[in-house]
């Protein structure tokens, strides 16, 4: 069932606010990864403000759902979301990548509440998520583990080791989003190291595979609900996204995989985002 129109608008507004904060904090830090943060933010927004059971006041609460950002370079998207949710003051976003900051270039669980595992080296977060899902099941807990991998990240062999294991151990408490923005640092994924047919590959690995438009809040919500109803196997939600989504000159741009916008570009980005109303394409 689609979510009510008002709730949909709320989530779109939260994602839009996060988008502005992502671009702003990366501009201030003068380095970071805007492209993959903007492609991931709608999914992360839905997870923290709609789907996941969690309590920002109790980041260590045993019965919380977990989110692992395996593509750790999208840290600004996670930071913007965690700050808005109340894990730490929004003002801290301005300290991204500065000496002594809790907001490291890639997430550090020892510094920042709400980070479930430190990530950054690709292909590792998903293996940790498999361990989390096993640990929770061992304790007969019903909480779920969510994870997000990048599409380029799927070139790491360990992603497929984790894929094999999650199916082998029948981890239906694990849902992974694959942020399919089709770009990596050196260019289009299909030119650098072809990934397709991605959905067929994950199906062949025994996963429940759902393909969605990854900026459509309704589709994200529905996919998560479908994953919850799937038993005996993990779910891979391939979210077709646009790198840099919402900022005209960043959309589909390889340059903004790992480059900060200038002050002028920031102003232009804010203008774009003032007009941008979320998901409908």
């Amino acid at each position: 069932m689609p979510i009510p129109e008002r709730r949909l608008r709320e989530l779109e507004d939260l994602a839009n606010l996060a988008r502005k904060r992502i671009v702003k904090m990366i501009c201030k830090a003068k380095s970071g990864h805007p492209g993959g943060s903007l492609s991931a933010i709608d999914v992360i927004t839905v997870l923290y403000f709609h789907a996941m059971t969690h309590d920002p006041k109790r980041p260590d609460w045993e019965d919380r759902d977990r989110f692992v950002l395996s593509k750790g370079h999208a840290a600004p998207a996670l930071y913007a979301t965690l700050a808005e949710a109340g894990y730490f003051p929004v003002e801290q976003l301005d300290t991204l990548r500065q000496v002594g900051s809790n907001l490291q270039g890639h997430p550090d669980m020892k510094r920042l509440p709400g980070i479930e595992i430190s990530t950054g080296s690709l292909g590792q977060g998903i293996t940790v998520a498999v361990g989390m899902a096993l640990g929770l099941r061992l304790d007969k807990k019903n909480n779920r583990v969510y994870c997000m991998v990048g599409d380029g990240e799927c070139q790491e062999g360990s992603v497929w080791e984790a894929g094999m294991a999650a199916h082998h151990f029948a981890l239906d408490n694990l849902t992974v989003f694959l942020d399919r923005n089709e770009l990596q640092i050196d260019g289009p994924t299909e030119q650098i190291m072809a990934l397709e047919p991605l959905a067929d590959k994950w199906k062949a690995f025994g996963w429940n595979v759902i393909e969605i438009q990854g900026h459509d809040i309704n589709q994200i919500v529905k996919a998560i609900d479908d994953a919850k109803e799937t038993h005996g196997k993990p779910t891979m939600i391939i979210a077709h996204t646009v790198k840099g989504k919402g900022v005209s000159f960043m959309e589909g741009s390889v340059k903004f995989h790992g480059n900060a916008p200038t002050q002028d570009e920031l102003c232009k980005a804010m203008e774009d985002l003032d007009k941008f109303r979320g998901c409908q394409i």
Binding site: S118, Q124, M164
Partner: protein, 323 residues
């Protein structure tokens, strides 16, 4: 002086026991006491002796197949849910193969993962250099948050592993493949970060770890016949290293020899030297592998071929003191 001059001395031990069996048994016993302990393996559960744990606790044992990277990541994930995760495989795969997973997902977040590496060093034997890692201590020792323990015999394997499991945070626990002489008393108590003096002496200190501890003890017997009084320290905790024991050795004896079944680059010897140069240094020599790969052969023959025997230690001591 040559190695032959030390030939008549008999080894100072009665029996040998496999450290892997001791580890397997201790893991099983700890598993009975603590339901939070989970074990992981990568298709080598028989060799690492985690199979005994697997048999009694199948739900707390995860064989990931031949996928060591995933094993380390899963261990980290299990640790985040409150488990004490014990991944184990051969040392060569438990370190070099998965170094970045240990670095990023275990050491950096300081998770409660106890990496048990078996088949370390050249005593792996017949499998050859591909399976004989002699740089694992170096790799693990240089990692922030990681502590490194190399037990000498079956008694210490048991005692030290209990401490490793009790002490929160990541550990690298290194044992070999072959049966090892039992040299510690049954009442031995392991203290993390403290060297154990097996024998006092005033002329020279032999500081050893792992399978080289019995060799050092034997070397001390050989040296005794030649009028040299050697102290023998079992430095089973490589990190944090026992600075005081090294300082005492430098103060009370005239020279130090490190003895390890590991490269002289980055291992126990390096850890000792790093401390020694900061205090009143005494002459030091290193017994270990010399920047080379191993080869196939029987464990004992390889120890001889790579100059890792009691005689090699004794000869180094003689020469060092003669200087």
């Amino acid at each position: 002086m040559s190695k032959e001059d030390f030939s008549e001395v008999k080894p100072p031990w009665k029996m040998s026991v496999n450290n892997r069996d001791a580890f397997g048994q201790t893991l099983l016993e700890l598993g009975r006491e603590n339901t939070n302990i989970v074990a992981l393996n990568a298709d080598l559960s028989g060799s690492t002796k985690t199979s005994v744990f697997a048999k009694e606790f199948p739900k707390r044992f995860f064989n990931v197949g031949i996928a060591e990277q995933n094993m380390m990541g899963m261990a980290a994930g299990l640790a985040t849910t409150g488990k004490i995760a014990v991944p184990s495989t051969f040392a060569v795969f438990a370190t070099g193969r998965v170094y970045d997973f240990i670095r990023q997902s275990i050491a950096y977040p300081k998770l409660n993962v106890k990496i048990v590496a078996t088949h370390a060093g050249v005593t792996v034997g017949g499998d050859g250099a591909s399976h004989q890692i002699t740089e694992d201590i170096s790799l693990m020792r240089s990692l922030p948050n990681m502590r490194v323990v190399v037990p000498a015999d079956a008694i210490e394997t048991d005692r030290s592993f209990r401490t490793v499991v009790k002490e929160p945070g990541p550990f690298y626990f290194r044992i070999g493949r072959s049966a090892t002489p039992v040299i510690l008393p049954n009442e031995y108590e392991f203290r993390l970060g403290q060297a154990y003096e097996l024998r006092d002496g005033k002329d020279i200190t032999l500081i050893a770890c792992g399978v080289m501890v019995p060799q050092a003890l034997w070397a001390a017997e050989m040296l005794k016949k030649h009028g040299i009084d050697a102290r023998v320290l079992n430095m089973s905790t490589i990190k944090p290293i026992d600075k005081e024991a090294i300082a005492r050795a430098a103060k009370e004896t005239k020279a130090i020899i490190s003895c390890e079944e590991h490269s002289i680059i980055g291992g126990l010897g390096s850890a000792i030297a790093e401390q020694l140069v900061q205090i009143k240094a005494v002459p030091m020599r290193f017994v270990g592998t010399r920047d080379c790969f191993g080869q196939s052969g029987e464990a004992e023959d390889l120890m001889c071929a790579m100059n890792l025997t009691a005689k090699d230690i004794a000869l180094e001591a003689e020469e060092l003191l003669k200087k």
